[in-house]
């Protein structure tokens, strides 16, 4: 598909420039994270971190590790809960087609469209009554609402691609529905499980609105709140803020490097359904 004519390479040049422009803010974040305090307000700003410093990253190690740990735990919890809820539902909607299934799919589609601020206010009222504000399980539960509808839609789309013969063969071998699901459907659906897990982790890792409303006053605060407090408290130390931002971007970067294929799959499967 790719031809190495001079014209094609010229296009690569333009592509590099366009990508560079799009990613420039990301570069700037990295650059500022290495900039010394006294150079921060230099005019014109230094385009490269000459005389770079690691102070920003030292600050991250000193102050942000608990936040990162919380985000990691919340992310893992969200992934487990999301897959546990969504995979059986996807299987049922794709292969068992119960009466009322389409109505449920429709509700899930609608659920994706509810603005987070409304969910947050409702959760706040409920959590206050139950006394689970500022707890890890509370935040995990709220964060799953970011991923579950999407996850069911993805699982449904992927699992309808499983050949019926495969499932019938399992039934012929004497496997029950549960066993078929566990030993045949799940292993075959590994790609969709990876896709769903990646997105669920990333969304819960990036969540700010639930964190700020449901965990704002507690001991278990995720990294998004870590950055937010940083901006509020010491807006002089921009290298520390940007270093935290760089560290907070690591999951997104890892996701893109390790699983680029799954990422574009997730983006398009969510939007373009055939």
């Amino acid at each position: 598909m790719t031809t190495s004519t001079p014209r094609a390479w010229w296009k690569t040049g333009v592509g590099l420039v366009l990508t560079g422009l799009m990613l420039f803010p990301v570069y700037w974040m990295i650059n500022v994270s290495f900039t010394r305090d006294q150079d921060m307000r230099a005019s014109p700003p230094h385009l490269f971190p000459t005389n770079g410093t690691l102070d920003g990253y030292r600050a991250v190690l000193d102050q942000q590790l608990p936040y990162l740990g919380t985000s990691f735990l919340v992310g893992l919890g969200t992934v487990v809960l999301t897959v546990a809820l969504a995979a059986p539902a996807g299987y049922a909607l794709a292969k068992l087609r119960p009466p009322g299934g389409p109505a449920l799919s429709f509700l899930l589609l609608i659920a994706q469209m509810i603005p987070g601020i409304i969910m947050a206010m409702g959760f706040y009222a409920i959590y206050l009554t139950l006394g689970v504000l500022n707890t890890l399980p509370g935040l995990i539960l709220a964060d799953t609402t970011l991923a579950v509808p999407f996850a069911v839609l993805i699982f449904t789309a992927f699992m309808s691609g499983i050949p019926d013969e495969l499932l019938q063969a399992a039934v012929v071998d004497g496997a029950g529905r549960l066993r078929t699901f566990w030993s045949v459907v799940l292993p075959v659906s590994r790609n969709s499980i990876v896709t769903v897990s990646l997105f669920a982790f990333l969304w819960s890792w990036s969540d700010f609105i639930f964190a700020s409303t449901l965990s704002g006053g507690g001991d278990h605060q995720p990294i998004t709140l870590g950055i937010y407090h940083y901006i509020g408290n010491n807006n002089q130390q921009w290298n520390a803020i940007m270093a935290t931002a760089v560290v907070a971007s690591i999951p997104a970067a890892v996701l893109l490097i390790l699983a680029q294929r799954y990422v574009s799959m997730g983006v398009t499967a969510g939007a373009v359904k055939d």
Binding site: M1, P99, F123, A125, R177
Partner: protein, 323 residues
């Protein structure tokens, strides 16, 4: 990883729009036995939907219909207020400006995201060396946590030390108070939001482009059509359904945008970049004395807007599936 799944995904990936496996044939209900037992697999998610979507939504409606104070919020027993909260919000002098900001923010974000995304999709559709890698890299802004993008843009647009003002200075333009002047704050958050939204538009439109059969282009090339004619004659009409869905999804997402604006400007200065979402948050959580009732009322107005867009989206999608 076993090679079988590898290849099957790769094939699907090249299929572009067909990244998700196509659904099987519709069930012929008459011949099948009752499948109510399948709800066993659906039970967890159904209970979950009821408990964590329906109930918070219900609580939100209830909040908007009662007169809550901090005390009654904790202890219960707030008096029923009917539509008072909605009346308060609708007659608030801030309502019209905030609604205008929401509309401007949404419309401008969509217009720029879509146009730039479309241009990039067309460019990357030409398949040159490295195009795949570069296309993947452009996804980065969309994957970053919003707080990361928002704080990076805050620093880029900083009045005194921001790079944008430094660059403007080189060209001889006076520094702009991007985030701190009422005239520019809305523009600033739109710029950041467009940047975040471009990758999504690019990826979805690109997958739409891949679904257009190449024969169509070959035929028109024989007819001697120019690139511009090809775009308006073939690409644009054939891409219409995907474009509509992209725009509608963009609309639903943009109406929801809260984090970005809150982190960059908190809706200020003097509410000059406040949207319905940030206003609702400010009323409920941003003040020392929370006003949950009006906050919830604004939230419910927002949800009506999102649902209208959502229903249009579902209608269009259904119609396309029938075709």
């Amino acid at each position: 990883m076993p090679s079988t799944t590898e290849t099957s995904t790769a094939v699907r990936d090249q299929g572009g729009a067909a990244t998700a496996a196509p659904p099987g044939p519709p069930p012929s209900r008459a011949r099948r036995p009752s499948r109510w037992w399948a709800w066993g697999f659906l039970a967890p998610v159904t209970i979950y939907l009821a408990a964590f979507y329906a109930y918070p939504l219900y609580r939100n409606v209830e909040l908007s219909l009662r007169e809550y104070t901090v005390r009654s919020f904790v202890q219960g027993g707030a008096p029923f207020a009917g539509l008072d909260n909605y009346r308060t919000v609708l007659t608030d002098p801030a309502f019209v400006p905030t609604l205008t900001h929401t509309v401007v923010f949404t419309a401008a974000s969509l217009a720029f995201q879509f146009t730039i995304g479309m241009a990039l999709a067309l460019f990357f559709h030409q398949h040159f060396p490295l195009s795949r890698t570069l296309r993947a890299l452009i996804l980065v802004p969309w994957l970053l946590p919003l707080i990361v993008s928002a704080s990076t843009w805050s620093w880029l647009l900083n009045s005194d030390s921001g790079l944008v003002n430094a660059a403007l200075g080189v060209v001889g333009i006076d520094p702009v108070n991007w985030l701190t002047s009422p005239g520019w704050s809305l523009t600033s958050v739109i710029i950041a939001n467009v940047w975040i939204g471009i990758p999504f538009n690019l990826v979805v439109l690109y997958s739409g482009l891949q679904a257009i059969p190449t024969e169509m282009y070959e035929a028109s090339a024989l007819d001697g059509a120019t690139g511009w004619q090809r775009f308006w004659g073939i690409t644009f009409p054939l891409l219409r359904p995907v474009s509509l869905i992209t725009l509608l999804l963009g609309l639903v997402y943009t109406l929801k945008v809260f984090d970005l604006i809150w982190i960059m400007t908190k809706g200020g200065p003097t509410s000059s970049s406040a949207t319905l979402a940030t206003w609702s948050y400010r009323l409920g959580f941003g003040n020392l004395l929370p006003e949950f009732g009006p906050g919830a009322a604004i939230g419910n107005l927002l949800i009506v807007l999102a649902l209208i867009a959502g229903l249009v989206y579902i209608r269009i999608e259904r119609r396309q599936q029938l075709r």
